[in-house]
């Protein structure tokens, strides 16, 4: 409520107090402003006015359109809703004046399904174009996890601290062709020299690179590939690609191999794309591009010839591994040459891999081929399977002497070596398993089993196959895990993989408990805390999903037992955090959650403060999200108060604003959810406790003040406005709470608003002296309002906010009764003094605007009966009963204010800030028009003078002036307002030239 809302209205039966200094605008204006007196207020009847202002009431005819009318189903328009209309959304029909209501239109006779079927036909017709896209998706959809996601995972996981080397023999073939004795024809030789001068015999060997150097070198190569291509040095580009793919046959730092594979296949991808696009651009005949699904017939001879040349060139690459990779990289280009090119190349490339002796190099080659195959020709599945079968055939290579020797040299242990295979095998199996029938998966599983139930394979099967497939066979998987030939592959990884599947899909109902028992039996025996927690973390999800708090409690207890010795938990915060998150995610009922005995002990493991606070936040977020009803459960309150306290205590001088805001938001959410029902005293003591606990977070204190205010009002509501002695003292306690809490806040405006708000609450609860104290505190705080305040990181002038607050305060002051021991309108006077002394900004009119508001207030104060009252509080109208001395006091104040305003107008005139002068004059004119009694001649004259002043320098908005005049004329037609007609005649309109 602002001061503007007060319909100022002054009675006429008061003695005039004429105060008429002459203001002489001695600069430009020779209009003499004669000053008056607000004492002449027109008489108004608030209730009558309200009625006349309210909208005309018109009865609604049945059948008329009305937005709130209930839906009626009309049969008449059944067929109107054609196919097209129904597809073109019904959202607009709401605003139309037709009877077609969007909701009823759905129910209008035609049943929704047949309607849908009808539209489906048209849709089918229009989406002919998109069918091809769908065909593509038939083989490979969005649910196929793309390589890119796997890529990052591999890079993060397979790292090394050892030194790497890159060996590049650029143009080394030159040395060979020109060896003495070999009689290369002159022509061939010169041609080769031409080619070689691109990379003049550059044979680089970069040794002792760290992993990071290595990665950046590879990235540089990728860039130089693009550069070479862009500058039309195709041969150099090819050389770079060949050299890079050659690196893949080098397994000297074997632990880094998977990452190396990722980096280098990136380059190959780039190359493949460049070649494909280059040939595509050659196919642009007459600037029309090839259709998306072109056939070789669409391709012109030049493009074909170039494409063929690439293949010939690659076919003559000497070494096996580069030849394989480069050809695989440009596999897609086969599309230009023949329809069957890809389907013929894939089996050939697959069998080509058999020549790669190193099992790791060959399995990654297979993974790359599968990847390229999935991208280029997702419909060809046989090749994927063949790759896997070939892999199984050569599986024994992993344990061959050559490999063993190599591992011995590099001091790599078998378990670590085996995990290097996982990404490649996983990827292969994932490609195979993608949308494959269960029978195929079963066959694959059988094949793996035949190979001695190898742990490595089993793990890959579990991570690649569909979770549902695995989950349904959980028991047999557990059996296989138990009896599998470990061969150095850690078993806990197997259980982890199984757990991951079970987190996604549910095993058969009957097996569930047994699965958990079997798995946990193994997990709990894990000695290394890291292995243990990685495994346990995964299985918590499964436990929470299918079991009660008892089992969860057991698991948590077990985790605590494993992680406490040697403070092992310090190394495992992320996993422990994830355990907590999973538990919280499944237990929405916090009373159950906190009755899990080991939950709080589990929390105690988070001893690093940052982690602890993170966990607390997690819990509070879950509480705010899932707690539907208010609670007074002591278990929850205790636990959560503890949690909140932890969060609160983490705040220090270095905490970021944002962090504090988040924490405060969470604590506030908690406070709002606590309710003791009718036990108000308990509620208040909870708030008192909360205030003690969370004193460092201002937003929480603000929330508490609001909560306590709310509590006071609740009490009033319960007592139906009549406080008993007990409730009255309780309410006073609430008020006292607010009164002593507010000063501890730092933000001035928060304090001001809270003082006002609490004062209103106190007033509503008939605590007059307390209310007085609040308002007095507010008034005495105003001088402290800073000139600028920080809003969203920017310094802004505070005046607009002060203006708003003061207006707000004025409207409250209307009903605040005067203190018996203080003078008349003590608070208003005090406030005016403060405003007078406040240093306002140099070129702002806010002070005058506030004075205008005060005039409104004074006008309202002088009414016989005020616009509003507070129940059971006698305002000044009742206290003074229109006493003349009271009114005289008001008049005096008015005179002073008007004087101030006019003085200000004069100053504005002097300073030539005429635009402001004009708008202020109009504002003041409107005030007089609204609140003053214009039958008083002097007031009338003042109004005319202001009107003229507003227009004098041509800054007035003509439209506004015309509207104002129209309004006056309209009002003059009402009874008792005929004098306004005279006024209107005296107000000239300045035509704008």
């Amino acid at each position: 409520m602002t001061a503007g809302a007060i319909g100022g209205h002054v009675t006429t039966d008061h003695p005039e107090s004429i105060f008429s200094p002459c203001l002489h605008d001695n600069c430009t204006c020779h209009v003499i402003l004669i000053i008056i007196i607000l004492r002449h207020s027109r008489e108004r009847d608030y209730s009558e006015e309200l009625e006349s202002c309210s909208l005309e009431k018109i009865p609604v005819e049945f059948g008329d359109y009305h937005p709130l009318k209930t839906i009626t189903v009309t049969e008449s328009k059944t067929k109107k809703l054609g196919r097209k209309e129904s597809t073109s959304s019904t959202s607009s029909s709401c605003s139309s004046n037709s009877v077609a209501d969007p909701l009823s239109s759905v129910l209008d006779g035609t049943d929704p399904l047949s309607l849908f079927a009808a539209t489906a036909e048209t849709v089918a017709a229009t989406t002919e174009v998109s069918r091809k896209k769908r065909d593509q998706e038939e083989y490979i959809g969005s649910d196929f996890e793309p390589w890119s996601s796997k890529r990052g995972e591999i890079l993060a996981r397979y790292t090394t601290t050892e030194k790497l080397s890159i060996n590049l023999f650029m143009g080394s073939d030159r040395g060979k062709t020109t060896t003495p004795g070999s009689a290369v024809s002159e022509k061939v030789r010169t041609r080769l020299e031409e080619l070689d001068d691109l990379e003049e015999g550059s044979q680089k060997e970069l040794l002792n690179l760290t992993q990071q150097d290595y990665i950046s070198r590879i990235e540089e190569l990728n860039q130089s590939l693009k550069d070479a291509w862009a500058s039309d040095q195709k041969v150099k580009a090819l050389k770079i690609v060949i050299q890079c793919s050659k690196l893949l046959s080098d397994t000297s730092v074997i632990k880094f191999y998977p990452s190396k594979f990722v980096l280098i296949t990136d380059i190959l991808d780039t190359f493949g794309k460049l070649v494909y696009e280059r040939i595509l651009s050659m196919c642009m005949d007459n600037k029309t591009a090839l259709p998306a699904n072109f056939t070789p017939d669409n391709v012109n001879d030049t493009a074909k010839e170039t494409c063929l040349n690439w293949f010939y060139k690659i076919a003559s690459i000497r070494e096996l591994v580069p030849r394989f990779y480069v050809e695989a990289a440009i596999l897609k280009c086969n599309k230009y040459l023949s329809k069957t090119g890809i389907s013929e190349s894939l089996p050939r490339l697959t069998s080509m891999i058999k020549g790669i002796g190193d099992p790791l190099v060959s399995v990654y080659a297979r993974a790359y081929l599968c990847r390229v195959g999935m991208e280029v020709a997702p419909h060809i599945k046989e090749n994927l399977n063949q790759n896997f079968f070939d892999f199984l055939l050569t599986f024994k290579q992993i344990h061959s002497d050559t490999v063993q020797n190599q591992l011995a040299v590099q001091a790599v242990e078998i378990p670590i070596y085996l995990t290097l295979y996982s990404p490649a095998i996983d990827w292969m199996l994932r490609c195979i398993a993608y949308r494959a029938p269960d029978s195929l998966l079963t066959e694959m599983m059988e094949r793996c089993k035949k190979l001695g139930n190898n742990a490595l394979l089993l793990n890959s099967v579990m991570s690649a196959f569909r979770a549902e497939f695995i989950a349904a066979r959980s028991m047999s998987f557990i059996g296989m895990i138990k009896e599998c030939d470990e061969a150095g592959f850690p078993k806990h990884l197997l259980f982890r993989s199984l757990g991951l599947n079970l987190a996604l899909a549910d095993p058969p109902e009957n097996d569930r408990l047994q699965i958990l028992n079997e798995a946990w039996k193994v997990i709990t025996k894990l000695k290394v805390p890291e292995d243990y927690i990685n495994c346990a973390e995964v299985w918590v999800e499964y436990t929470c999903r299918h079991f009660t708090k008892r089992e969860v409690n057991t698991i948590l207890a077990d985790v605590i037992k494993h992680m406490t010795p040697d403070r092992a938990f310090e190394e495992a915060y992320p996993q422990l955090q994830s355990v907590i998150t999973k538990v919280i995610a499944h237990f929405h009922d916090f009373s159950v959650l906190f009755s899990v005995e080991k939950f709080l002990p589990f929390m105690d493991m988070f001893q690093k403060e940052s982690v602890r606070v993170e966990v607390c936040k997690c819990i509070m977020e879950a509480f705010i999200k899932h707690q539907q009803e208010v609670t007074k459960d002591p278990v929850i309150l205790n636990a959560l108060l503890h949690v909140c306290k932890t969060m609160h205590d983490s705040v220090n001088a270095l905490s970021l604003e944002d962090e504090k805001r988040t924490l405060a938001h969470l604590i506030n959410g908690f406070i709002r959810l606590v309710s003791f029902g009718r036990d108000f005293e308990q509620q208040l003591s909870f708030y008192v406790e909360a205030r003690a606990l969370f004193c460092n977070l201002e937003p929480v204190l603000v929330q508490l003040i609001h909560s306590v205010n709310l509590l006071a009002m609740e009490t009033k509501k319960v007592m139906k406005g009549n406080h008993s002695r007990k409730t009255a003292s309780f309410v006073r306690a609430c008020v006292a709470f607010c009164f002593i809490t507010i000063p501890s806040l730092t933000s001035i405006f928060t304090r001001l608003n809270l003082y006002l708000h609490s004062g209103q609450v106190a007033l509503a609860n008939q605590c007059l002296s307390q209310a007085d104290a609040f308002f007095r505190a507010a008034v005495s705080l105003v001088p402290e309002v800073p000139k600028t305040i920080n809003i969203d990181g920017k310094m802004r002038s505070s005046e607009a906010f002060l203006l708003e607050f003061l207006s707000n305060l004025f409207s409250t002051l209307l009903v605040v009764p005067d203190h018996p021991e203080q003078g008349v309108l003590f608070l208003v006077r005090g406030l005016l003094n403060v405003i007078e002394n406040y240093t306002w900004e140099d070129n702002s009119d806010d002070k005058v605007r506030i004075y205008t508001s005060v005039l409104h207030l004074l006008a309202a104060l002088s009414q016989e009966s005020y616009l509003y009252h507070i129940d059971k509080v006698d305002s000044n109208d009742n206290l003074y009963g229109g006493d003349t001395k009271f009114l005289a006091e008001i008049n005096k104040l008015c005179d002073t204010l008007i004087g101030q305003i006019l003085e200000h107008l004069k100053v504005l005139g002097k300073e030539k800030t005429l635009k402001r002068q004009s708008s202020l004059a109009l504002l003041f004119f409107n005030t007089i028009l609204a609140h003053g009694d214009l039958r008083n001649n002097k007031l009338n004259q003042l109004a005319v003078n202001l009107w003229n002043l507003a227009q004098k320098h041509g800054y007035a908005d003509t439209k506004t002036m015309v509207k104002t005049l129209e309004y006056i004329k309209k009002r003059s037609k009402q009874s008792d307002s005929s004098h306004l007609g005279d006024l209107a005649n005296r107000l000239p309109l300045q035509s704008r030239t």
Binding site: F169, V235, S249, D301, E305, S316, R318, L320, D358
Partner: protein, 319 residues
């Protein structure tokens, strides 16, 4: 060591501008077929393009088609000096010159002058297939000459085109070759006893190869005491020059393709697959003056750097 054998780098800069430009006048020959491949009896067609900013004054534009076999004697067989001086005279297969434009002026801008040559030779000659070898080269070129006045240099542009010989008459039946390599089958071994034990079996699908089809087969290492380092296919040309009074026969490597790297899985068939490079191979050719033949070596390199080679003569033909 060479990553990409030299033989294949022909396609990018095969036809470098052969001086066919001068002060803004550019002479170029464009052959109609993108791959520039023609057979005997076909019509070689295309356009000569002259691009110039100003009008071009000339004394006639001539186009010459030539095909010849150049032979070189290797230093190894006849001695360095003889090799240098005694290069055998090239054998001309086809030669034809026409005057395309009479002396006069060409307008500024782009002028295209079409041409056609029937590829027909005299009764006693054959259009051999284009072949770029070491001692034998069979090459066909188009040369365009623009004669100009004394003040301006003559412009010349060369352009090679490719001849594929006529398909072989008569059906060639595939002739598969099986092989087994053990220490016992090897020749040229000094101390047979010190050899490691190994058994390698395999087959070539055919030793009669269609030149456009790859050489295929399979190879399987059944046992090997010593780890295998690499298995390679070495394509070799055997060129014979000369006639009755004396000839030189030289074998040189065309390309070397690795089919296995590292210690391959025992008992797993490894594909033998090699594409015959264009230009550097041609159908096996035997004439009175020279012979071009091809062979393939299967080379097994053991970890201890023992080198085991098995040689297979090939007969290439065109279908």
């Amino acid at each position: 060591m060479c990553a990409a054998s030299h033989v294949t780098f022909f396609f990018l800069k095969r036809y470098r501008a052969g001086g066919g430009e001068d002060m803004g006048t550019v002479l170029d020959i464009k052959i109609k077929r993108a791959n520039k491949v023609y057979k005997e009896g076909e019509l070689l067609s295309g356009v000569v393009v002259v691009v110039s900013k100003d009008t071009v004054q000339h004394q006639g534009i001539f186009l010459t088609m030539e095909g010849s076999v150049s032979l070189q004697l290797s230093a190894k067989s006849v001695g360095v000096f003889e090799a240098f001086y005694n290069s055998v005279k090239p054998i001309q297969i086809i030669s034809n010159t026409v005057e395309m434009v009479k002396p006069g002026k060409l307008p500024s801008g782009k002028t295209e002058i079409p041409f056609e040559f029937p590829l027909i030779v005299k009764s006693n000659k054959v259009l051999y297939e284009t072949y770029h070898g070491v001692f034998v080269n069979i090459q066909y070129t188009l040369r365009c000459d623009m004669k100009r006045s004394l003040l301006a240099k003559d412009l010349t542009k060369n352009c090679e085109f490719i001849i594929h010989s006529q398909p072989q008459k008569g059906k060639q039946s595939p002739s598969p070759v099986d092989f087994t390599i053990t220490p016992e089958t090897l020749q040229n071994v000094k101390e047979r006893a010190s050899l490691p034990r190994f058994l390698i079996r395999g087959h070539l699908d055919s030793s009669n190869c269609v030149i456009t089809q790859p050489l295929t087969g399979e190879l399987m290492v059944e046992t090997s005491e010593v780890a295998i380092k690499s298995i390679e296919l070495q394509l070799v040309r055997v060129e014979t020059c000369g006639c009755a009074e004396g000839y030189a026969r030289d074998a040189t490597e065309i390309q070397n393709i690795q089919i296995a790297e590292g210690d391959v899985c025992r008992g797993l068939p490894i594909p033998i697959y090699m594409v015959f490079p264009r230009l550097f191979t041609c159908p096996t050719l035997e004439t009175t003056n020279f012979k071009i033949e091809f062979e393939v070596n299967i080379v097994v390199v053991l970890q201890d750097d023992h080198l085991i080679t098995e040689n297979f003569p090939l007969k290439l033909y065109r279908l």
